[in-house]
Symmetry: C2
Subunit: 203 residues, 2 copies
């Protein structure tokens, strides 16, 4: 675990990198769909390389990992599903309801495409793994996927989807969760069941 960050510092980094990462998500989409003149594409490429040079002037040699705030908060800014600084992350905004219910509403557009016009089956798996896994996390005790079983019952169109999960059963070290993806018409497109393991807290 890396050095704790104080809350003010964390807010400052969020203000700096949140909007930057959102711009980068837009750029990922544009690189897929652009039909600009060659000269504009080459110019854009040069600007991207300049941005990279600026950002690499000082660099953490390690992946982001998980950092804590001095106030006990958890920062997962590098996480591929929810990371504030990870442009691959849609990002998922995971909402914890009552009785261990977890949900996330998200829009998955062109950058998440598999079959034409549809979300890649593997991206469905990624968001379900994360949301089902979130039912099993406890403060300071992240859970790891043990098994994940997915049933694709209808195609998932690009656009808005909802991901939901519930705890089916639980012991001290293990959570069994079920969940699904639904489209805006409320039709379930993918069903999932997973077992998530919580390693023992360090004593």
């Amino acid at each position: 675990m890396k050095e704790p960050v104080n809350a003010e510092q964390a807010r400052h980094v969020e203000e700096l990198y949140g909007p930057l990462t959102r711009s980068l998500r837009t750029l990922i989409d544009l690189v897929i769909r652009s039909e600009a003149e060659d000269s504009d594409v080459r110019h854009a490429h040069a600007l991207i390389d300049q941005a990279a040079a600026l950002l690499s002037s000082r660099l953490d040699p390690e992946p982001f990992g998980v950092r804590t705030t001095a106030e006990g908060g958890i920062l997962t800014w590098g996480n591929v599903a929810i990371g504030m600084r990870n442009a691959i992350a849609p990002p998922l905004d995971v909402i914890r309801g009552e009785d261990g219910h977890v949900s996330a509403d998200v829009t998955l557009d062109a950058p998440y495409e598999g079959p034409p016009g549809h979300v890649h089956g593997g991206v469905c798996a990624l968001v379900l793994d994360h949301v089902l896994g979130a039912t099993a996390h406890r403060p300071g005790r992240p859970a790891f996927t043990g098994t994940l079983n997915l049933r694709y019952v209808a195609p998932t169109r690009l656009g808005k989807i909802r991901i939901e999960a519930w705890i089916e059963s639980e012991t001290e070290s293990k959570t069994v969760a079920v969940g699904c993806i639904t489209n805006p018409e409320g039709v379930v497109t993918v069903r999932a069941e997973g077992v998530f393991i919580r390693p023992k807290a360090r004593s």
Copy 2:
């Protein structure tokens, strides 16, 4: 299906967007790990917005989908797992061997992180879905995931991994595939079994 592209045009787009997308993958990583001065981060952000403005001067309103070349090739440049123009894609370079064996060697670094230092379980699912599914694809007849069952037997560290899949059984419309992720020491970290459905070819 969109208009076919001729082979020369396809090569030209690859020469233009291949290196651009590789630079963008680097940039995704740097935005996660940068510790640059605030002024450099703000300058980088401005350059990214400039690049976005250039690329959006002319834009396909649709996701990339699948395009064909006049010579009968298939272009999946927007695909989230293998797309040449999709910076989210590592990208997987899927190798088809004999007897339906499929494999891909890939390096997954900081942008694919879940637990600290490890590949997100959902990203493991994404790459396995794609490689298992590739055993079932036939020219002009893509296969869709029916079910996918994953068993996480060891943590998958960030870095180099190999993904492999084999056909277990097959009918005209369905392929059952098995596969796994192995780390550089040859240890299996995730096992997968999937059923992939091929819709009937249009007559």
